[in-house]
């Protein structure tokens, strides 16, 4: 009888404790919200990776100052965990798996910068049922994979536009220059010197296709390793091929600075269009006078004429004692997209978060994020993430395209004969 009494008491205690835990609601809601980020924090792309991290840290601080993200009606502090990909897909995947399995992250921003690492990381979304949002990668291959199997990649979203945005911007800025009569091609030939990454190749291939449709011939596609800076062999080849237009695409600033300096030294006579590297302020320190006349995209960070950018730049300088950049603004924006979506979902549920990312309409310093539902890709354009073209004139960036945003006109590049 005594034994039966004890047994009944234990059972009542167990039921009571269970009821208490149930009444307390989901235990996880009290835990901080964990966002994992994979970015290149070492290696030739580290200056961009670290700037992205700083932008995200600023955004996380802003959310935490407000008490955090509301989940299940409760303010939840945000913790952002950063891991280094070293610009290598296999390292990025390993870092992400560590954060998924050990840190139990609720959402992954991966990769923050490289397309090649993102192509590897996006496979983790269906595998771990985890919402993943990429950062700056633009390679169209990512969007193509999503379009080919939308069910598999339903939890994956691409945080930046596709390579077509760069290609169309390059084609259209060229057309506007040609229409102004400032430049006349001799043979309608175009050449590319780009970094050997998914980013470089995808942007070059898409741009090449767009120019081919206009009747142009591609005379060279030279790919060099990330961080490469000796272009004499490639530029001597260009002197022989004499393309009308040369397009250079690099994420590593030293590559871009090396190319424009050597381009000037060797006197290559081609209209030079650059992609990405002049975005970084240190490009001007490194390239110096040789940068004069370069036409480039995307001019997304303009401290001198955009008050919002200037105010953001001040925040970055105060917090990190460094000049702000487009990468800082992007990092800030993409974490806001992620946290905004989780707040909208009000839950840690992967499907609910993913659905909320799809409905995003967030205006940040970098632009307005909204996603194409067909390929889960951020939209490009003046209303969304803009891709304006600038020319370096008198040591300053002057927006020359699109016309409605232009602050000046194209000036003939000094190397053109």
């Amino acid at each position: 009888m005594q034994g039966l009494k004890l047994h009944r008491r234990s059972a009542l205690l167990a039921v009571g404790m269970s009821s208490l835990f149930l009444a307390m609601g989901p235990v996880r809601a009290a835990e901080p919200l964990k966002i994992g980020v994979v970015a290149p924090l070492t290696g030739p792309a580290a200056n961009s990776g670290i700037a992205l991290r700083q932008g995200m840290e600023l955004a996380a601080d802003e959310w935490n100052a407000k008490g955090g993200v509301t989940i299940d009606g409760q303010k939840t502090p945000v913790t952002v965990i950063f891991e280094d990909s070293q610009s290598r897909p296999e390292v990025g995947v390993s870092a992400a798996q560590k954060m998924i399995n050990r840190d139990k992250i609720d959402l992954l921003i991966g990769e923050a910068f490289h397309s090649s690492v993102t192509i590897a990381l996006m496979e983790l979304a269906p595998q771990f049922k985890l919402p993943i949002l990429s950062g700056e990668p633009v390679s169209t291959e990512i969007a193509k994979k999503i379009e080919a199997d939308p069910e598999k990649y339903k939890l994956f979203w691409k945080g930046d536009f596709n390579s077509e945005a760069y290609g169309e911007a390059l084609r259209d800025v060229y057309k506007s220059i040609a229409a102004s009569g400032s430049f006349k091609p001799k043979n309608n030939t175009i050449a590319f010197v780009v970094e050997d990454t998914d980013y470089g190749r995808s942007n070059a291939e898409i741009t090449a296709e767009l120019f081919k449709k206009e009747g142009w011939n591609v005379v060279a596609l030279e790919t060099v390793p990330l961080g490469h800076a000796d272009f004499y062999p490639q530029l001597t080849k260009m002197r022989s091929l004499q393309p009308d237009v040369l397009v250079s695409i690099f994420t590593s600033v030293n590559s871009g600075a090396g190319l424009v300096k050597q381009f000037q030294e060797l006197g290559v006579s081609a209209l030079h269009l650059g992609v990405y590297y002049p975005l970084r302020s240190e490009f001007f320190d490194q390239a110096g006078q040789a940068a004069e006349g370069l036409v480039w995209v995307p001019m997304q960070y303009d401290v001198e004429s955009n008050k919002e950018h200037a105010a953001f730049d001040k925040l970055i300088q105060q917090k990190f004692k460094t000049a702000g950049s487009s990468d800082h603004a992007f990092g800030h924006g993409i974490l806001n997209v992620a946290l905004g979506a989780i707040e909208s979902a009000g839950s840690r549920d992967a499907t609910k978060i993913s659905d909320a990312i799809g409905k995003t309409n967030y205006k940040g310093v970098h632009g307005t994020w909204a996603f194409d539902q067909k390929n889960h890709t951020a939209k490009a354009g003046p209303e969304f993430i803009p891709v304006p073209a600038a020319q370096i004139q008198g040591g300053k960036n002057v927006v020359i395209w699109p016309e409605q945003r232009a602050a000046g006109k194209y000036q003939p590049q000094p190397n053109l004969r």
């Binding site: 070492t42 290696g43 030739p44 580290a46 200056n47 990776g49 670290i50 010197v193 050997d196 060279a220 596609l221 030279e222 790919t223 060099v224 390793p225 961080g227 490469h228 800076a229 000796d230 004499y232 062999p233 490639q234 001597t236 080849k237 002197r239 022989s240 600033v253 030293n254 600075a257 090396g258 050597q262 030294e265 060797l266 006197g267 240190e282 320190d285 490194q286």
Partner: protein
């Protein structure tokens, strides 16, 4: 390649020789260490990186002239090389499995120096101005003064090294140590001192390469890795431990890579240089100037 005008073809050859001379400068340090100590130094790229940063600090922060900054930067890297050898390598020599433990130790030094540079100087690329601006046009070829200077410095450095190895007592001691360490010891050569000095000289050669190339490649904590990889290819091609092999191997790889760019495309550059390496090793597994082990 056939459609390329002849002057541009020769310009490309000169590009290859300049590139190759830098490969040779980096590879000569690696081969010197292998030849003398029979070990691979994985921190060699970081000696190159430190040379770049020391040069940058002397030029940009302290306002030194290039003529003064170059020898000071090289001397500082030489001292770092000596310190690394004494602290990280010397205690392991002669112990069981020392061939592997020294390799791991230099790998550790490499990681430490990269992260120390990141912590001290940050992730942003640094640069130094050219020593001489401008170009010269000779029979349709356009050559940069900076590159011609790099070539001249590399040639002088190689001649100086040849003199050091062939015409000085230290050079004799080093060659004796490389041939037979035990016999050299019996004849009174302090082989451990030779090892330390060899490490320092190899580091100084990497430092010299950095001072010459910093204005082209820019300075970052990771600048040493790609050049060191190419240095290893050159050392294997020329023959492990062979100083003339490092020079010839560097020039061959430099010319083959640049001609590969005009014949096919830059994306085949690595494929071409590794194919040349495999072909040469197919016929001479010990490298061009290497010695076949009996």
């Amino acid at each position: 390649m056939l459609s390329m005008p002849l002057p541009l073809f020769f310009e490309q050859i000169i590009n290859g020789i300049v590139l190759g001379s830098m490969y040779a400068l980096v590879a000569s340090g690696l081969t010197l260490i292998w030849g003398t100590m029979r070990m691979l130094n994985f921190a060699h790229g970081e000696f190159y990186m430190l040379g770049g940063y020391f040069f940058f600090l002397l030029i940009s922060s302290l306002g030194f002239s290039a003529a003064l900054a170059i020898p000071i930067a090289i001397s500082l890297v030489f001292v770092v090389g000596l310190a690394v050898q004494r602290i990280a390598v010397h205690p392991l020599l002669g112990r069981p499995q020392w061939e592997f433990s020294t390799l791991v130790a230099t790998l550790g030094v490499s990681i430490f120096l990269q992260n120390a540079a990141l912590h001290i100087w940050g992730e942003r690329f640094k640069t130094v101005p050219y020593f001489i601006n401008g170009t010269i046009d000779i029979v349709g070829m356009r050559l940069s003064y900076q590159r011609l200077l790099i070539l001249a410095v590399a040639v002088i450095a190689m001649l100086a090294m040849w003199y050091l190895l062939r015409r000085t007592r230290f050079g004799m001691a080093l060659r004796a140590t490389a041939m037979d360490r035990d016999a050299a010891m019996l004849y009174g050569v302090n082989v451990y001192r030779v090892f330390t000095m060899t490490f320092g000289i190899a580091a100084a050669l990497a430092g010299l390469a950095a001072t010459m190339l910093s204005s082209i490649n820019s300075i970052s904590p990771w600048m040493g890795a790609p050049l060191m990889l190419k240095g290893f290819v050159v050392v294997v091609l020329g023959g492990l431990g062979s100083f003339p092999g490092a020079i010839l191997g560097g020039i061959i790889i430099g010319i083959v890579e640049t001609l590969g760019v005009i014949t096919w495309s830059s994306q085949w550059r690595e494929v071409i240089s590794f194919t040349v390496l495999i072909l040469i090793l197919w016929f001479r597994p010990w490298g061009i100037f290497g010695v076949k082990e009996s």
